[in-house]
Symmetry: C2
Subunit: 104 residues, 2 copies
């Protein structure tokens, strides 16, 4: 029997736009966000091909999670992350779409 557990994250009402913008404003974190945008059910981010070390990857994922951009659940030894698109679209309509539309 497998259990799923959500890692700590802010409730919707605790999310702050400056923290979200700061989290999004970093090239590797934008790669992660773009990848997650294509897979609503979530990705094991350890499987993403990123140009950083494992510890840097973990740092970026934590920054994104703690700011409210993504949610992470554990499934056995895997950590599956997905965008909190519903929360972000409700709080900041258009922001995420605008970011994802960016060519550079």
């Amino acid at each position: 029997m497998s259990t799923s557990k959500q890692l700590p994250q802010p409730d919707r009402g605790e999310i702050r736009v400056d923290a979200v913008l700061q989290a999004l404003g970093e090239p590797v974190r934008l790669i992660i966000v773009r990848a997650l945008a294509d897979v609503p059910e979530g990705i094991a981010c350890g499987e993403l091909d990123l140009p950083v070390t494992a510890s840097t990857r973990a740092h970026h994922l934590r920054t994104l999670r703690e700011s409210g951009v993504l949610t992470t659940r554990t499934e056995g030894t895997r950590r599956i992350s997905s965008l909190r698109r519903e929360d972000l679209d409700a709080l900041y309509p258009g922001l995420l779409d605008g970011v994802l539309a960016a060519e550079q």
Copy 2:
């Protein structure tokens, strides 16, 4: 006869979303952006009431200008800044509106 001069800024094609997000992701800079959003013709930002020193204010304005968020022109001894809304809306549709919609 007064002359108006635009301070250095990136062309639209040089603006990068990570730099824009980083520039926006700071509380004092968000105060500036919200104030400018209400006044399309621009504001002499020295006149804004901000909880920072003059040099910090200048630093924030430069960060916003160099990232492409605002444009600044000199008029005599005054510096008038305004949002580059048309450029940002063209590059990242919805981003600025989403940020301005934020309650926190």
